[in-house]
């Protein structure tokens, strides 16, 4: 199946096609192109590396949204053993924009909560493209409370453009559901390890976004609002999204610098979608390490640290007194 291709990835495809042709030729005519193939591979690697080193914030947003980028369900399939999905908020319905359940990561029993965007059209529609309704946040809270009751750490995967913008979401209290999660997660008596795997935008991200350790994949982004949403309001046209992406400081490096993100998880050459398996292996290792680290911290201390971490974010100054 042809891989979806971003504009700046197109030059890679040309090299890849050359390599494929040489390999085919080798097989059919029994000749040796290995030196040439190696040299093209080298150029390809250099080109991918140079391209990714120079990505603009708006291009990073495109990578974070890449159609082939691994989603929560892919990471669960890759490294969560014996996953037992738990469904429904016990109030209204099961929101498939949020996946919840029990599972094991590196032998450790955990509760999983993550946004799910869906891969094909049918799945995307069923998942509301990863935009959760109140019932999604309430299901997440129900499962986090279960985790607290049975002493399981919570592992979250963040990947959303925001909560679902709809009449039903408003009628059922989307703001209430997010606010309650913020309050309850602040005092949840088990460790929380979160990872922004793709998009972390708006209150919809934050509704499952509080963590003792927040990891962020190298080409994920985190923002108060999507660049398009910001541009539509401040520039009065969504076409200014690239400018908004620049102004919002939404890349992993910025997020780490301002103290919201604790660790940037490096992605494979050319980003997660080019080597999903390698990405999953790296992420599993990093999450496992954080789980072991947090396990050693007594609960009181953990909650104290969590509060301080949330408390200290922000930049203010005293005005000169007149």
């Amino acid at each position: 199946m042809a891989r979806a291709c971003l504009e700046f990835e197109k030059p890679f495809a040309k090299f890849e096609e050359q390599i494929r042709q040489l390999e085919r030729d080798q097989r059919s005519r029994n000749v040796d192109h290995s030196a040439e193939i190696r040299s093209i591979r080298h150029s390809l690697v250099a080109m991918i590396r140079n391209t990714y080193d120079a990505l603009t914030p708006w291009e990073i947003v495109q990578v974070a949204r890449h159609p082939d980028r691994p989603q929560t369900a892919d990471y669960v399939a890759a490294f969560v053993k014996d996953f037992k999905e738990l469904h429904g908020d016990r109030l209204f319905r099961d929101d498939q924009a949020v996946i919840c359940g029990f599972g094991r990561i590196g032998g450790e029993k955990v509760a999983i909560v993550g946004h799910q965007k869906g891969r094909d059209t049918r799945e995307k529609v069923a998942c509301f493209f990863g935009c959760a309704h109140p019932e999604g946040y309430r299901k997440a809270l129900r499962v986090m409370r279960l985790a607290e009751k049975f002493g399981l750490p919570v592992v979250t995967f963040i990947d959303t453009q925001g909560a679902y913008p709809g009449i039903g979401a408003e009628e059922r209290g989307i703001a209430d559901s997010i606010a309650v999660n913020l309050r309850e997660m602040a005092l949840l008596k088990v460790p929380i390890v979160g990872t922004v795997i793709g998009e972390g935008a708006s209150g919809g991200y934050l509704g499952i976004g509080i963590a003792d350790r927040l990891l962020m994949l190298q080409y994920a982004y985190c923002s108060v609002i999507t660049p398009e949403g910001c541009a539509a309001i401040l520039w009065r046209t969504a076409e200014k999204a690239p400018d908004a992406a620049e102004a919002l400081h939404l890349t992993a490096a910025h997020l780490e610098a301002c103290g919201v993100v604790d660790e940037i998880v490096p992605e494979p050459l050319g980003a997660a979608h080019r080597s999903p398996r390698e990405m999953a292996t790296t992420l599993e290792r990093r999450i496992g390490r954080r789980l072991r680290e947090l396990k050693r911290i007594p609960t009181d201390e953990l909650l104290q640290q969590r509060y301080q971490k949330l408390r200290c974010v922000g930049v203010v100054v005293e005005a000169d007194k007149h």
Binding site: G166, A169, E170, A186, C230, V313, G314, V315
Partner: protein, 271 residues
Amino acid sequence: MAINGRTKKKDIPEGLWLRCPGCEEMVFRKRVEENLHVCPECAYHFRVGARQRVAMLVDTDSFEEYLPNLMSPDPLGFGDRKSYIERLADAQRQTNLYDAAVVGRAYIRGRPVVLGAMDANFIMGSMGSVVGEKITAAIERATELGLPLVICCASGGARMMEGILSLAQMAKTSAALARFDQAGGLYIAVMTHPTTAGVLASFGSLGDIILAEPGAMIGFTGPRVIRQTMKQDLPEGFQTAEFMFEHGFVDRIVARRDLRSEIASLVDYCD
């Protein structure tokens, strides 16, 4: 994210008369002001600034302000069609405030409380680091002092010009409220026009008791965005105080003139 669709400027313009958006009548400005900025003809609730809000709620001269000089240094160097620095300077000039919230200690009909009020005229009442810090400090003081907390919300949501720092204020204020709640404190949230987006999805919705002024716009996502997604017209009265009341997210809709006595008697039940 700040909503800036439907809420047009409803400040009271200079001049002797003004047109009431509620009844479309020309009303005498002084009569509106004397009536707590409520139309004497149709009870339309005009916007009030943070200082006016404090003044109409607290006992005379009882307000002791916390952190009055806090302001934003524009941490991202943000600019769109206009720079954030300019927007801040304009808003400061228009409102005579350093940012969109005022917090402090006060007495309401003799009851000591910690009070916060937001100002919708300061960059849409949006929440950046300063608003988040002031609200959090107020919650922490209420926790230490064992006092009831009252916050009058008026906000378009998280302030885009401070990016993720603004979003983080939602988590910060909510975490402080979690501790306040655990300590047994009473928090009365008052939703005034407009209470939306990131403020509604954090401290705005976390009141033990939630009051709302009649006709206030209250909602998470902006109506324009919802209309685009749903590709249908929004129901009559969607995202108003009355709509939120009907759906179970507001305890009581309270007219402005009754707010003081309502708060005082609720405090008496919960001390």
